[in-house]
Amino acid sequence: MLWDSRVFDALNEFDGMRRTFRHFGVPSTVEFPAINMWVSDDKAVVTTEIPGIDPGAIEISVVKDSLTLRGSRQAAELKADESYLRRERWNGQFSKALQLPFSVESAKVEARFSKGVLSIVLPRAEAEKPRKIAIKSE
């Protein structure tokens, strides 16, 4: 028989392989906006590209170790005799939550919006900072 079980096994295996490798590299789709995060021992830096947005309209909230970004961008309103020849840019509302690697001192979070890139510096909570333990010698 043409479609014997070996064929299906091979297909299953291929599927499993694809599932394994899916997590490598940049994902093909991410929830908007795309985020990059850099981490050091005492702080995390989160950057995201949201060009053309009014900085006052971005809402950033931090609770313990989760960061939520909210905002929206409106498309240009067209008059009767105007039309889109091409339309690729995003518009609408977005909301994205992100799990941080540690709890954050929410009072000391700083955000800066420049050239359409939002960058947020999140200092690690004092209580969670790694401590060096000195060893006493006898």
Partner: protein, 148 residues
């Protein structure tokens, strides 16, 4: 909300035919809206990380190229723990038709958005042609063709 679920990945630009590059960054193709107004055609491009000093617009014959240079200020002492987008320059090439008045193209950059206003040339502006109706209908002779 459905709008935000759309695929939002940055698209890498096709390799330009202009030869090898000396800057070792990726080039992305910015997302663009083109809007036709009554008197101009406006191109709006999302180029986060670009300001008015780092964007280059060249017009050679009828090829309009926009190029945005991005200098990423990645904190050196940090390690990358999540990477959903790549950072690189932007480039996109447009072919202009004759209807654009080349001398009057204006560009502004605001919050990472480039806006190019290209006024239409006088000759290309839409004109309304008035049609006057004549009282009597009938066959029209074109180029002297005789209707029998």
């Amino acid at each position: 909300m459905a709008e935000t679920e759309r695929e939002m990945q940055k698209k890498e630009a096709e390799t330009p035919d202009t030869g090898e590059r000396t800057r070792s960054t990726r080039i992305y193709s910015p997302q663009v809206d083109i809007i036709e107004h009554k008197d101009d055609i406006t191109v709006i491009a999302d180029m986060p990380g670009v300001d008015e000093k780092s964007v280059d617009i060249t017009l050679e014959k009828n090829i309009l190229t926009i190029y945005g240079k991005v200098d990423s200020d990645i904190p050196k002492t940090h390690r990358l723990s999540l990477s959903e987008y790549g950072i690189g320059d932007y480039q996109r090439v447009f072919t202009l038709s004759d209807e654009v008045d080349r001398d009057k193209i204006e560009a502004t950059v605001n919050n990472g958005v480039l806006r190019l206003v290209m006024p239409k040339a006088e000759s290309a502006k839409t004109r309304k042609i008035p049609i006057t109706a004549e009282g009597v209908g009938g066959l029209i002779n074109l180029n002297g063709v005789k209707h029998q």
